[in-house]
């Protein structure tokens, strides 16, 4: 399988949980947003997995190309993915 790379930018709480603002990850060609989420859950452990699966908090958004992407959305090589909660209050 060919590989692609995506840049993942962690906003807010997710930058706290991962200890990173941004990283580049290699994925199989054709990988989806859902598969990226599973990879992040494995990489960063229980607390991040809980957040991703938790129906008690706001839904975690994976924003690609300016819009929240559904889990089946395929990722392209070089795309930027923002991982964030919807927020408000300024």
């Amino acid at each position: 399988m060919n590989k692609i790379t995506v840049t993942v930018r962690y906003l807010g709480t997710f930058s706290q949980l991962t200890g990173k603002r941004e990283e580049t990850l290699g994925l199989e060609e054709g990988a989806t947003v859902g598969e990226l989420a599973r990879l992040l859950g494995l990489k960063y452990g229980r607390e991040l997995r809980r957040r991703l699966e938790d129906g008690e908090s706001r839904p975690v958004l994976f924003i690609v190309d300016g819009s929240p992407a559904p889990s089946e959305r395929r990722l392209g090589n070089g795309e930027l993915v923002l991982v964030t909660y919807p927020a408000g209050g300024g």
Binding site: S15, G55, R58, G89
Partner: protein, 690 residues
């Protein structure tokens, strides 16, 4: 002192600075029964006691610093207070709400609020220690910054005192002077610090040792406990986002959604957003060390949305303080500046000078665009979008009214644009004279509509309709606001009802003394948790919600239902409309700036968006119908005011030809309790809710 209702201290402190007198005046019962306290009572006191012809800076004008019945009580977010008066910037109702420890202390001292009038012959400060009220000489403090002033008063009064102070900008006549509480907490919008400066009042300190009694302690405990549980269960609170980064969480989030104002609202996506973000502030400037932890909270607040930091090295070394999203966007993306050190420094300068950072930053951004278009000389500053040094220098010049740019800037962007001429008005983002906050109304339709109708001018906090940003289930939008589009940021459906509902709640909580974030950022208030649970995949057996009606009733003894709560909000907004009409506001000022109606967003996630003028007009007509205002003139209908118990307000408007006779042809009743048990509809009746 006994007062019929619980939770109130029972009196206001009236201070005449011209005469040097202070007297305790008992609260009027009808103030509480119709307007609660805080923002609502302040509007009422202004309506009753300030002659409409009195100018904002006339000695006879009033400034009120007021708490609500919930201020200082056990319960979530009870540290809010309201500062009110006629705005010198806009000429209409000016007010600003701050989260503080000052408000509770004022209640403990035995006062629901302070009413200031007159002009002292020399600079003074007001010192309150329970019944001991004194005006003290402040000649040596005049000209000092807010931080130095506050520190020196604490030295004199003791570390337990709470302090409100103004800065040199207000003293110099900058029209958007702020009032800053306890170093960091700003009541800045609409320039009421400038009114205090015109009275030669530099500061107010307060210390109190009294208690506050509630009407029904057992019911109160249950209502407050329910409120705490609702906050802890709230899906937004559970994310921990505010506690992690404060409100600057909105820099990257707003950019991701395409509503972060950039380069004087020419754009709504900033390529440098991450460099001025809450994440960047945490990683570079935030500190866990003394004197304050990184995340600060107001009185009785679990949210800790205030972020404290400091700069230890470089040209801005020594800068320290508390940041919020609005100031960061005002000096950052709106000015095209991505140097967070410069933004933080400019923000703290504005606080120390005592100026509203939003008006200040927006005015600088306007000048940058005017200079780039050749409409204005830059006096050798190099003032262009992205130029951090010139942006910082402009803060000094505006505060000191230095040079033509400083003089123009000190009057706010609307007066400045009029003086610049040559079409500069087309670049404005003001509504009713007040600069627009950090959300592009083209990209967020409820926010945009809320700006157009907000009673203090372009402002997000009259409604704060964050609901449209949070990807709530569309069914909740349909049940509460009549359209599933209410949950979609770029759609118009349901947005009028959404704004009106949020406005009503905000008017109530501003008047009761609780924080906007519990019901318009988080959504912990009845009936949202119940409706969210109704449509959730995993349902809770027990749902908690903040029931403001029960909470306020238990605290005060004023009977209240959910619908009654909505009516309180409606009444307060109608009173603010009446005040504004008397001060010259007219229907045509309920609109958006030309840029938002004619220029499409050029790039970013909201590319191509506009606020459609035709739809805005339709929304206004629907809004007036909900409020009971004549869609032709924007004047309230006589019958509507009477139904709200505001006959005397109607009479005062009638005298001036500012009232529409009769009632609205079809009175909208959009805010019934959606979960109340009602009789089954009869045959042929529509089963859907009204």
């Amino acid at each position: 002192m006994s007062f019929k209702y619980g939770a109130f201290a029972g009196s206001l402190l009236f201070v005449d600075l011209g005469k040097g007198t202070a007297k305790r005046v008992p609260l009027e019962r009808h103030w509480c029964e119709l307007y609660l306290g805080g923002r609502g009572r302040d509007a009422r006191v202004l309506f009753e006691k300030q002659d409409p012809s009195t100018g904002p800076l006339d000695p006879a004008s009033l400034v009120l610093i007021s708490t609500g019945p919930l201020t200082g009580l056990l319960g979530p977010t009870t540290g809010r207070l309201n500062v009110a008066g006629r705005s010198p910037l806009t000429g209409i109702y000016g007010n600003s709400n701050a989260g503080t420890n000052f408000g509770p202390e004022l209640k403990f001292a035995g006062y629901d609020g302070i009413v200031l009038t007159g002009r002292s012959p020399r600079p003074v400060r007001l010192s309150i220690q329970d019944d001991d009220v004194r005006l003290k000489d402040a000649s040596e403090l005049w000209g000092e910054g807010v931080f130095e002033t506050t520190a020196r008063i604490l030295e004199e009064e003791g570390p337990e005192a709470r302090v409100a102070a103004i800065g040199p900008a207000a003293e110099n006549g900058v029209l958007f002077g702020s009032v800053i509480f306890d170093f960091w907490d700003a009541a800045a919008r609409t320039g009421l610090g400038t009114v205090l400066a015109s009275k030669n009042l530099k500061a107010v300190s307060v210390q109190g040792t009294g208690a506050i009694r509630v009407a029904d302690p057992k019911a109160y405990y249950e209502a407050a406990r329910e409120g705490w549980l609702a906050v802890l269960e709230d899906p937004g609170f559970r994310t921990g986002e505010h506690s992690a980064l404060g409100t600057s969480i909105c820099v990257n989030w707003g950019n991701a959604q395409g509503w972060l104002p950039t380069r004087n609202f020419r754009e709504s996506w900033f390529e440098g957003a991450d460099r001025i973000s809450g994440e960047e502030f945490r990683d570079v400037f935030s500190t866990r060390e003394a004197p304050l932890p990184a995340g600060r909270a107001c009185f009785s607040c679990p949210n800790r949305c205030k972020r404290y930091g400091r700069i230890d090295e470089g040209k801005y070394a020594g800068t320290r303080g508390n940041i919020e999203f609005e100031g960061v966007a005002a000096f950052g993306s709106k000015c095209g500046v991505d140097d967070l050190g410069a933004v933080f420094h400019a923000y703290m300068l504005a606080n120390d000078y005592g100026m509203d950072c939003i008006t200040c930053g927006n005015t600088i951004a306007l000048f940058m665009e005017c200079i780039e278009r050749g409409l204005l000389e830059d006096e050798g500053l190099g003032l262009r979008f992205g130029c951090a040094d010139a942006m910082v220098e402009m803060v000094h010049r505006i505060a000191n009214r230095e040079g033509r740019l400083g003089e123009l800037g000190s009057q706010g962007s609307e007066r400045a644009a009029a003086a610049i001429g040559k079409g500069a008005e087309a670049l404005l983002n003001t509504i009713k004279g007040l600069e627009t906050i950090a959300c592009d109304p083209r990209a967020a339709k409820a926010f945009g509509f809320g700006f157009a109708v907000a009673s203090r001018g372009s402002d997000h906090l009259r409604a704060h309709p964050v609901f449209e940003m949070l990807r709530k289930p569309p069914e909740v939008g349909r049940e509460l606001f009549g359209s599933p589009e209410a949950v979609e940021l770029r759609k118009y459906g349901g947005k009028v009802r959404l704004v009106a509902w949020h406005e009503n709640l905000a008017a109530v909580t501003d008047s009761a003394g609780s924080c906007r974030f519990m019901h318009a950022s988080y959504y912990a208030q009845y009936p949202i948790p119940e409706l969210m649970n109704k449509y959730a995949k995993r349902k809770r057996a027990v749902v908690h919600s903040i029931k403001y009606h029960k909470w306020i009733e238990a605290a005060t003894g004023i009977p209240m239902s959910y619908e009654g709560l909505m009516e309180f909000g409606d009444r307060i907004i109608n009173l603010e409309r009446a005040l504004n009409l008397r001060w010259g506001l007219r229907r045509e000022q309920d609109t958006l700036p030309r840029r938002f109606l004619t220029e499409r967003i050029p790039k970013g996630p909201a590319k191509g968006e506009l606020f459609e003028p035709r739809i805005l007009e339709e929304m206004l007509v629907e809004y007036y119908k909900i409020r009971g205002w004549d869609p032709r003139t924007g004047y309230p209908y006589e019958e509507r005011l009477a139904s709200l118990g505001m006959e005397d307000v109607a009479a005062a408007l009638k005298e001036r030809g500012l009232l529409s006779p009769g009632g609205a042809p079809e009175q909208a009743q959009p805010f019934r309790d959606p979960l109340a048990h009602r009789p089954e509809p009869g045959p042929g009746e529509n089963a859907s809710r009204g």
